[in-house]
Amino acid sequence: MTLQIILAAVSIGVVFAGWRVIYKNAQKIATRNESFSLIRDANETLDRLRLEGVALWRMTDKDEINFYTKITTNDIRILRNTITKLNGRNVHIDSKVLTPLRRALTLNNTKVVDQSIEGMSENISAVYKATERFKAVILSSFEKNHPPLP
C-alpha cells in the first residue's frame, strides 16, 4: 500500500516536472518570437528609411524638404519606441545607435539642392551604412539574449 502511494507520488512529480519544462520552453519560445517580431518591424522601418533617405538626398525641389524631414523623423521616432519596447524585454540596445541614422538623414538636409554629385553619393552611402549598422546592432543584442535555436 505504502509502495503504491510512493509510486503514485513519484509519477505525479514526474508529470509535474515534465509539464513545467514544457511550459518554460513554450514561454521562452513565445518571448523569443515576440521580441523577434519587434526586430522584424524595426528592419522594415529601416528599409523604408533607406528608401526615404535615398529619395531625400536625390531631391531637387527644396519645398519637399519639410515633408521628407517629417517622414524620416517620424520613422526615427518609431525606431526609438521599438528600442524602448525591446529594452523592456531585456534586449538591451543603446539609444545612441540612433545618432548615425539621424545624422545621415537630417544633418544639412536643408542644403540638399546645393549638394554636389559627390556629396549626394556620400550622403546616400551614409544612409546605407547607418541602416546596416542599426540592423547589425539590434540583431546582435537580440541574439545575446535569445541565442539561435538549435
Binding site: T73, R77, K96, R102
Partner: protein, 108 residues
C-alpha cells in the same frame, strides 16, 4: 545665478538651421534665447523635452543650436562645459548635442 531655458517656450516643433528654413529654426533659438542666457547667467539649463508628442529633433537643428555656440558665437568649449546643462530623457540627443559643441567643424 541659474537660468532654465525651456525649448517648448520657443517652439513645440523646432525645425531647421537658419531663418530660411523657418521662424523656429536653430539659429533663432541660439541667438535670441541661448546666447543672451549664457551671457547673463552663470549656469544655463536647457530643457529639450517639452516639444510636441512624437517630435524628433533633426541633427541640423542640434548642430546649429549647440555647435553654433562655439562655431559662430565664439564661446569657449570649457566655458560651455561648466555653464551649460542639456536636459533630456534621450541620451542620444544629449550626447549628439555635446558632440557638436566639442567638434562643430567635424560635422559641417
Amino acid at each position: 545665478m541659474k537660468k532654465t531655458v525651456d525649448i517648448g517656450d520657443f517652439s513645440k516643433i523646432p525645425f531647421g538651421r537658419t531663418p530660411e528654413d523657418g521662424k523656429y529654426c536653430a539659429q533663432n533659438f541660439r541667438k535670441k534665447i541661448l546666447v543672451p542666457a549664457l551671457n547673463e547667467y552663470d549656469e544655463v539649463e536647457v530643457l529639450l523635452d517639452n516639444v510636441e508628442a512624437d517630435y524628433e529633433y533633426g541633427s541640423s537643428f542640434l548642430h546649429e543650436a549647440f555647435g553654433g555656440l562655439v562655431q559662430h558665437e565664439k564661446f569657449e568649449v570649457d566655458v560651455l562645459d561648466k555653464k551649460l546643462r542639456i536636459v533630456t530623457s534621450y541620451e542620444d540627443i544629449k550626447a549628439e548635442s555635446w558632440d557638436y559643441i566639442h567638434a562643430p567643424d567635424k560635422y559641417q
